[in-house]
Symmetry: C3
Subunit: 644 residues, 3 copies
């Protein structure tokens, strides 16, 4: 189904009815509103102006549209900040970040927690049982603009409390953080300071705890909003709209109280955000890299209920990347269908009409500022028509491949990268790309999730292997491919006494004795499989024979039963060879190799193919397929769907 983001407060009230009618005409079912409107709802402390929002919801509802209401906490108004300056967040330089844009709050401010509860209560109690309201979005894009880690007095106070609860005694902190190193011992919890403005690096275990604490503050805050909404709005869903390539908090933990996760899909902007090569950026500038949307669909879908929404879908050029391309004609339609193929319930475009004012005035909408349908709007309308003709989509099943995705792994490797280009998010994405190039669907799951349904489990980056993660690996019969640095850290960010891969030695009888981070350039690996390693290489002590070795004869890949260990950062050639010729056969999986611009995705009995072009692609064995969309030859920026 389609949705759209709408800001009635941005437009004359006499435009609303026509807007609503045109939405319905375009095939839209859901309209998200309200999430930045605090100053118009409560223009002064305690004085509420609900009228306009009442009328807006009424207008939409009368047009047959369902409303998703956003709580307005991403934009506390000026008067609130003036009343309670302790709401403001602090930057990594230890100075306050002021009012003037959005997200100017720290999750640790008790005042903010209370005021947030107050405004959510007000929203939820007024609209909780409104028949036009189908569900809720909490806040907006937690963490946007680098707002998870804050370094102010409120944060310090909350962190000390968190430590008190977690560690009980200062001695326990000294032990856990290794405070004997550099005379960092604390004599009380009040001796703990934030890791900010120090002369050089602070204890990594302390910083990891600060990150865990900060992530848990988001969880706690989201739980508070969700609980208030559920109290007033029975039968409605609650979700939150996550961002792309953003790993500063544990989205799995936040999702526990949500009905499903949502995310905001800006395929072109993300081409500039992710560390692609300049060549890749040039190649995919106007279509997006073919794995950017899928990576996120497959990350967020399993978080809650095996379903998700795209809450904001790019409808044309945006305003916030270094360069902002116009999408290749067809892509606005393709991205929507691709999300649906990956299990999305709703694809909601951002936004209905391009705003003529404000920071995002260069961000396209489904309509132009002159009330005319935009290029992207025409593509969305085509999706609307196609969907109407298509009938209901089948349920989304379980993929054959799981990829274990750990937010702490991102924090640990950022806190101590050891090599400046060892980037967790890049490593994970490249493994995802490798398996998708072989035609498989993927579920990205948290460490500890049940893996028994999978035939292949990929573990690209898991420095800390928790007991739960270990158990899940033990209990599956899947083939398991483990990447470098796995098990190299304890919970307290320390070397495991038995060396890496730590607890994974239960499955992989080997020890990592030395690691090198490698300057740009690649090392040859050869043997049963071959290719290249770059960025990272480990030396191993083991009795296992090597599946492949480095040029100096040292082991590069080791196998033991259904576990395979990669000692380095495998380039695409090595990873592809290893998967296709060793691991997939062992897993009993048959790949369908696709070119770099095509991806396949199954939903129930349907198979979809998406071509990021420009070259066309011919569906294999096309004569035997029954096509529901497109046909045997899929043009660039086009798609096909057939019955499996």
């Amino acid at each position: 189904m389609l949705g759209v983001c709408y800001y009635p407060e941005h437009w004359p009230e006499d435009w609303w009815a026509r807007d609503a009618a045109e939405m319905a005409e375009l095939g839209i079912k859901f309209v998200r509103i309200g999430e930045f409107a605090w100053s118009r709802i409560e223009p002064e402390p305690g004085r509420f102006d609900w009228g306009w929002l009442d009328r807006a919801i009424d207008t939409l509802g009368k047009a047959g549209l369902k409303v998703v209401l956003g709580t307005p906490t991403a934009t506390p108004p000026k008067w609130l900040i003036d009343l309670y300056p302790d709401i403001l967040p602090y930057g990594a330089d230890g100075t306050v970040r002021g009012f003037g844009s959005r997200r100017h709050y720290t999750f640790s401010s008790e005042t903010w927690f209370r005021e947030s509860a107050r405004i959510v209560e007000a929203y939820a109690s007024r609209y909780g049982d409104n028949p036009a309201v189908a569900g809720w979005q909490t806040d907006n894009e937690y963490g946007c603009h680098d707002t998870i880690l804050s370094y102010g007095p409120e944060d310090l106070k909350a962190f000390r409390g968190w430590l008190r609860r977690r560690y009980q005694t200062p001695e326990a902190i000294n032990e856990a953080w290794g405070n004997v190193f550099w005379s960092m011992d604390v004599n009380s919890f009040d001796d703990v300071e934030l890791p900010v403005r120090t002369v050089t690096e602070t204890a990594p275990a302390a910083r990891l705890d600060y990150w865990r604490f900060s992530s848990e503050q988001v969880v706690r805050y989201n739980e508070m909003q969700t609980a208030i909404i559920r109290k007033h709005s029975p039968g409605r869903f609650v979700t939150h709209n996550y961002m792309g390539f953003f790993h500063d908090f544990d989205h799995h933990a936040v999702s526990e109280v949500l009905d499903f996760a949502s995310w905001d899909s800006y395929p072109l902007g993300f081409v500039e955000k992710f560390p692609f090569s300049e060549d890749e950026r040039g190649r995919w500038a106007s279509t997006s890299h073919p794995d950017i949307p899928g990576f996120h669909h497959d990350l967020y879908r399993p978080m809650a209920g095996n379903k998700f929404w795209v809450m904001e879908q790019q409808p044309g050029p945006v305003n916030w990347a270094p360069w902002n391309a116009v999408p290749t004609p067809g892509m606005v339609r393709l991205w929507a269908w691709e999300a649906l193929a990956h299990g999305a319930e709703v694809v909601s475009y951002f936004r209905w009409r391009q705003a003529p004012f404000g920071q995002e005035q260069m961000h396209a909408g489904l309509n132009r500022p002159d009330r005319t349908r935009s290029v992207g709007g025409h593509e969305a309308a085509r999706v609307g028509k196609e969907l109407a003709a298509f009938g209901p989509l089948p349920e989304n099943g379980t993929a054959p491949v799981a990829l274990v995705f750990d937010y702490e792994a991102s924090w640990i490797t950022r806190l101590q990268p050891q090599g400046k280009d060892f980037l967790h998010e890049e490593l994970t994405f490249r493994w995802y790309e490798a398996i998708r190039r072989l035609g498989f669907d993927v579920d990205m799951v948290r460490p500890g999730a049940d893996l028994s349904a999978y035939k292949l489990v990929l573990v690209p980056s898991l420095p800390h292997v928790s007991l739960e993660a270990l158990e899940a690996l033990r209990k599956t019969d899947a083939q398991i491919l483990v990447g470098p640095r796995a098990g190299s850290k304890t919970r307290d960010f320390a070397f495991p006494a038995e060396l890496a891969p730590g607890p994974l030695q239960a499955f992989l009888p080997l020890k990592v004795t030395q690691v090198a981070s490698l300057r740009p350039g690649a090392q040859v690996v050869s043997g049963a499989v071959s290719g290249h390693v770059s960025r990272w290489r480990e030396w191993i002590e083991t009795d296992l024979p090597a599946l492949a070795t480095y040029a100096d004869g040292a082991a590069a890949i080791l196998q033991h039963g259904r576990f395979t260990y990669l000692t380095g950062w495998a380039e695409a050639d090595l990873l592809g060879d290893l998967l296709a010729n060793t691991i997939l056969p062992a897993a009993g999986l048959e790949p369908i190799a696709v070119p770099d611009h095509v991806r396949i995705r199954r939903r129930g009995n349907l198979v979809f193919a998406f071509n990021y072009g420009p070259e066309s692609w011919t569906v294999p064995d096309a004569a035997t397929k029954r096509f529901k969309l497109g046909g045997p030859v899929v043009a660039g920026a086009d798609l096909a769907c057939w019955e499996a």
Copy 2:
């Protein structure tokens, strides 16, 4: 005529007379002094020591030299800052910028305004009617070291006052700035904050207003100084020395009260400052790019009185660029003649003698620290002799080509570039270069200036088209070439309701429906003219036929009557082809194509050619010319002048 900048306070008093005699001997007529001497004039609060300056002026006057006196407000002394710390400016990080170098003041400090008036009054009342004093320079290089935009409490106070006068009500600000976006509504003028230290981007309309306010503060400050000087110094000129490639305030507005504009010409240093390619920087490292001096002469000359001074002329290597070359022999002479050809009344070298101490001790002068004439000094002396033989230069006339230069365009495109390499100053400079490569003189004029005298008007960058600008375009019969983004913003930094090019749709019946900022790389344009577009591309809705199209068939260039619209950032090939083969013929103008190292400039009945070399250049139809300087073959770093 020649001038020089001199610092008697830097030298033993018994050197002055010989210095003055040597100046006169070299052909110098004007000597600028005094602009950094506050601490020597007023060493303690209210205690003035005029004696040395009296004697310095007297010594210069007796040698037949005319003095240009600079007010010393660029360097408030330590005791003044200690008395009134509210004078200090604040950086973009919201923290104070301290005493210790120069320009440590904010234009918004009321104390500073009062103290400035006091010292200017003191200077002007003492020397206003001194017969040796020919004129005045206010302050020194407004804005140098990033000092236009300040972010302190004095600035906030003044800005709120400015807003109160401009908007009358908070509601008017909310409307103009689009404050409904992200709940930024203000309930009073005291709710307005400076755009500093915010979590992310603030409202662009607010920042544009802050820039306008800051620019107007300069205007107001300069008016104050000028009024005081005029009161005490009848019959003397008042000017200010602007900088190169500096657009942070509206120089047109500041110039309104000046007798003429001056500027400080450092052709080699600017090669490093402007965003040239590394190849270009290597090519022009020791001569300057051939359009750097001319661009500024033609920008500043029309500002007041169709004349100007070069107040500081580079005499050799300087100290402040990343690399500081020695000029190719001949260039110090060439730059002086080139300034004169562009209409300069005086070319004043900076400085008489290289200082052996202080920040600028590596900055050459006409004399070395050992009281010997420098290499550049010998070139200046040659100019002095040539000028004496040359006789008076004719009046400067009006050029056939106008280029509309808008300071607000610089602010708007910097506030929201949309593409990271969309640089207003580069675009403008490249258009200037293109028309200069075709041999034309150019007047750079402000939007709204009378255009009736011109045959061709270039409008490379004018996002906001004011009523005055529109009227001026209507009232001329010139051919008009308009660049991308024209008319894309209202006065309040918003999308025009009718889409871009906004009010220019009166002349160009078309609408811009989509824009893309392009990653590095070029797109082919072909048709009646051909070449390449990079960086920026627009999509157009119109009934007009295209003069040239992109590879996908979309319109790249559109014409309607005497208006031509370029939908992208034209590379030199496309811009040159368009001008030479379509627009210039329509304008009835005959180009003289010159190579990349040669430029031509007319002054009255004289034609000058300047060769930035190293290749020599032969004057076309040389046999028919009467040469006043040089001859038919112009060597590198040399020039020629003949009668038209």
Copy 3:
């Protein structure tokens, strides 16, 4: 002899005895301990816990090991900072740098000076006459993490006092600093501010004085610690462990009170720190550049007693460079032998066992965290065995070549580089490399040191030539090669009245009339010698004939008697040609050219060759040599030693 750094406080007490036994078994004689242990010695104000350190020293002593005790002042504990926040240093942005890592103190805090004396007194009085204690290390790595220049209130107070003593009157400062420039005059010492947070560059003479002051604060602080130790610990040595490529204070001055200098040798990490090209970084990533260890050995050895220690020797991969390689097998042994060949008395590995916690947990040790000997540990053990068999090493003599190394030259060229790639440390290193490629041993000496014993003196960078430096050059008969910018500044950071090379004009009758810093690219020099110049070029006024000229005929190299002057930054080709074919013959020195990966070093009657490989190298005339280590063919990462 071998040593090791050990942290008993990091390990269970019941591990100590086995650790000590294994050290002795490996051939270790000295164990450095205690330098980061303040919080465990004095966990609360005034409450000391000596027991564990008593027992640790006792355990080591009983195993026949000698202890080097480090004072713990690099890591003041939390309670001390809470009691006396004025201890904290301030960054170049003028804000405080907090507790949380190490070196969180400013040398200028009087409180800190007193508290440091107190803890040093406590350490020294307890262990001064302990028979197991062989010597002392003051603090740890002065200046690490950019901690020499601090910009807080304590620093300002101390600086004003220093100026009062040095200048007596404010007028003297105004004169020395050129304060007339930009009205910077001070009326009292309290008018002086720190060069921080200013609008643009402050007076270079003021900043040079601030650097001198800051350096002298280190000298004074180290003298205090040394004096206390000597009082309580007669017969023991005192040293300090310097860093590599670090020039922020005058190590010569600090060394005056030491028995010998030590330094911390991290050959691989320094490959990333020094401004090598990316090609060079790739070539030397796993071995180090062959001159990195030698450069520092030859710099620190002459500082005190013509001997030195390597206090910390890299034993494997480290944790702090952008990329951290595993050393090529053999290099951990090679580096140790190379240090000994350069005159080291002891090579002490950092550290005994890799810590499993804290910031440096990725830093290898001689043992792995699992109590097993590491790869590097095995190489160290081989050195231990070889040393036992080798017998005592001969005394280190005087080299034939001196290189004058001036810390102020580093400060002056950083304060005003004039060309952004004019890097003092790179220039000096390249001259060192050039003479080492010709097979010579080098003593690096301070300006003013006695040069009479040398045949060749290299002066790559000496902007300020002091009277002492001048006298030393006068009194030697050596050939002297002088690099660009020599004598270009007075003591007060001013142009000399007679122009550069200032006082060196006594030996070199020439004047520098212009200087250019050159954009990347090289200029050809030809004549009696030939090659290239880049980065810097000077123009000369002289009657001397040129030994070689630039393409435009201007002099590039000038000679007068035993002095040769280089007017530019000579590339390796020019410098090699000049040395080999002109200067060395004049000095009566016979070079032995070695390839880029081999270096030779003599100690007494022994000659060592070190091969940084991978190519092997054959010792010339090998048949005539008696080898003590290795043989005629030296493999990559291997070495040889024979009798001369």
